[in-house]
């Protein structure tokens, strides 16, 4: 498993790094302005337009390249929000214990029982599906499971002998947090971050797919949404270069992040680390 884990880590890391590079270099490598009318409507792939054009004559490849940027931003911010909040709440609950812990965990329980997607749809529809709303709602649905895992990790840590020893030698909580808690939680936070980044990419595309997307934004989801809203999308070859590449882009991103997550698992999972 150890060697396989490394393969997953490298493969996933390579995919994610490549996508990040595309996102970063979008203005340089994108052949056209993704919003400009760059050619005839619904043109088939050609040397000028590698993936053809959409109904408005916009270059699909350019839209996907710029869409990488949108996905990367949403993934990083939404996952950051989910993990940040989760770690803050979980670690606080674990350290304080008592009423704060009880209250936090009941809130987490309630949140976990509510299915995320209908809630996301409702909030995005009511608040207007801007990118910041999407980031915010994904982050808000993501923190409870993180908080729970972080709390249980914190609790086991607080019961360890070396923490008691450190406390006995007169170290303050700040020292314990810096010296013991942060190193314990860091791998867990990283693994959760990767997992929520993957979820955010798929969720953002899914919400856009359902029509919950800022129409002025260029993202993989908006490409999918526009394509599937097109009359007769299934009855011409257009599907092959309009829907398929966008769907694959989402899949590859999710796949890369999932591999990265599997590769990180041995480092993040306390049960595996002990073994």
């Amino acid at each position: 498993m150890r060697r396989e884990g490394r393969v997953f880590l490298w493969l996933g890391g390579a995919i994610v790094a490549m996508l990040l590079l595309v996102a970063l270099l979008a203005p340089l490598i994108s052949p056209f302005d993704p919003r400009a009318i760059a050619g005839p409507s619904l043109a088939a792939p050609s040397t000028a337009h590698w993936l053809g054009t959409n109904d408005a004559g916009q270059d699909i490849l350019s839209q996907l390249i710029w869409g990488t940027r949108s996905s990367a931003v949403v993934a990083v911010l939404a996952a950051g929000l989910a993990v940040g909040l989760g770690v803050a709440v979980g670690a606080t609950a674990g350290l304080l214990g008592g009423w704060a812990d009880l209250l936090a965990m009941r809130v987490v329980d309630v949140f976990l029982a509510v299915p995320a997607l209908p809630l996301l749809i409702l909030v995005a529809a009511l608040a207007g599906p801007s990118r910041s709303t999407v980031i915010l709602v994904i982050g808000m649905t993501g923190w409870p499971p993180v908080a729970r895992v972080v709390r249980s990790q914190t609790l086991t840590l607080a019961g360890r002998g070396y923490v008691a020893a450190a406390r006995g030698f007169g170290s303050g909580w700040l020292y314990v947090i810096r010296r013991h808690l942060v190193p314990t939680l860091a791998p867990l936070a990283v693994a959760n971050f990767v997992y929520w980044a993957a979820t955010a990419v798929v969720l953002q595309a899914g919400l856009a797919f359902l029509g919950l997307v800022d129409p002025t934004e260029v993202s993989w989801g908006s490409v999918l949404n526009r394509a599937l809203a097109h009359q007769g999308i299934y009855f011409s070859e257009v599907w092959l270069w309009w829907v398929l590449p966008a769907g694959l882009a989402v899949t590859v991103a999710a796949f890369g992040l999932a591999l990265l997550g599997v590769g990180l698992e041995p480092r993040a999972n306390p049960r595996w680390r002990r073994a």
């Binding site: 749809i121 009511l126 867990l188 359902l210």
Partner: protein
């Protein structure tokens, strides 16, 4: 997909690839008292109702902004008319009264009036809910059967080529987003190959058919959406069954069975699989949450006339009462399924039911 997250956040099953594990299994096996369980579900339902009430009111703008603002089909600019509409919906009254009205209405099954259909939301939902339950039920049954079978085969041969192969296949299935799979299935299987109908739940005017032909017609329309949906829960069911099966491998009763000269088949299916079955039963119930959310995508792609499709349509039509009704009903379905799973587990596990 959120779906995935709902199931996998947590789940510290051995060999489970997701990070952040430990919780689902614990939540599933943690013995809690009946009353405590029920009370926690009541709290969740209360929370939901309140959330559903406050969400539109907490958003920027008024609750009826979507109805009256520029950009909607029923745009109203005059202040007096706006005030009249507000009064009509009771929005000028104190919040506490509104809340009491809302809860009282719900108790009578009143979910408000659909803006698009101009009939009670409860009637619109009533017309659609059967299709969703049919779709989700079929998919869940199919996925559970196939996932369990795969899990038994894989777990019994842990680490062998068969196990690795199955694990790879199931994990690969899991990476594809459901909306993409649905769209691809519609394009390839329905349009290119013409094996399945592209949309709808029945052939138009099929009520003139004989009863048998009607059933066949419904099944024919159900096949593709249900299969696509089933692919979404297959992997988790497989992983749970597999790890549960692996847990049985070293058991004394298997050793004894082998010593008695029982065949591998009997040991595998009648002994180990039967003992490993328990978590799968619970998982099937918990997967309802995943199922109704994935159904929103699948129904949208295949224009399947269920609740998910209704919610999708009401987003496009800015039909907020319908959207909220769908949210409430879908969520209640999920929560009741979780409760049933919770209680069923108690009955099924002799160690808990005593």
């Amino acid at each position: 997909m959120p779906p995935r997250s709902e199931l996998t956040h947590g789940a510290l099953l051995p060999d489970q690839p997701q990070p952040a594990a430990g919780e689902t299994a614990e939540a599933v096996t943690r013995p809690r008292r009946w009353r405590g369980t029920l009370a926690s579900y009541v709290i969740v339902v209360f929370f939901l109702l309140t959330l559903n009430f406050f969400l539109p009111r907490a958003m920027p703008g008024e609750p009826i902004a979507g109805l009256l603002d520029a950009g909607s089909a029923t745009y109203v600019s005059e202040d007096t008319t706006r005030a009249a509409v507000e009064r009509y919906y009771g929005l000028d009254r104190p919040l506490a009264d509104q809340y009491a009205d809302y809860v009282g209405g719900l108790a009578r099954g009143d979910l408000g009036t659909s803006i698009h259909y101009n009939v009670p939301v409860s009637r619109v939902i009533g017309d659609r809910i059967g299709w969703t339950l049919l779709l989700v039920g079929t998919a869940l049954a199919f996925a559970t059967a196939l996932g369990m079978l795969g899990g038994v085969l894989s777990g019994w041969r842990r680490g062998r080529p068969l196990d690795r192969g199955l694990l790879g296949v199931f994990l690969a299935i899991d990476t594809f987003p459901v909306f993409f799979v649905a769209s691809a299935a519609a394009y390839v299987l329905s349009v290119k190959l013409g094996w399945f109908p592209l949309s709808g739940a029945r052939t138009p005017f099929s009520d003139t058919y004989g009863p048998l032909r009607q059933v066949a017609d419904v099944a024919y329309h159900l096949a593709l959406p249900a299969t696509v949906l089933a692919l979404q829960f297959l992997t988790y069911q497989f992983l749970v069954m597999r790890s549960s099966m692996v847990g049985e491998l070293g058991s004394d009763y298997l050793l004894l069975g082998r010593a008695k000269g029982l065949s591998d088949r009997v040991l595998k299916y009648r002994y180990a699989a039967r003992n490993a079955l328990l978590p799968s039963v619970t998982v099937a119930g918990l997967q309802m949450g995943f199922a109704v959310t994935a159904a929103i995508f699948v129904e949208s792609v295949f224009a399947y006339p269920g609740l998910g499709r209704l919610m999708f349509e009401s987003v496009g039509e800015r039909d907020y009462p319908t959207m909220q009704g769908c949210f409430l009903v879908l969520t209640l379905i999920v929560i009741s399924a979780n409760l049933v799973a919770d209680l069923a587990y108690r009955r099924l596990d002799p160690r808990i039911s005593r």
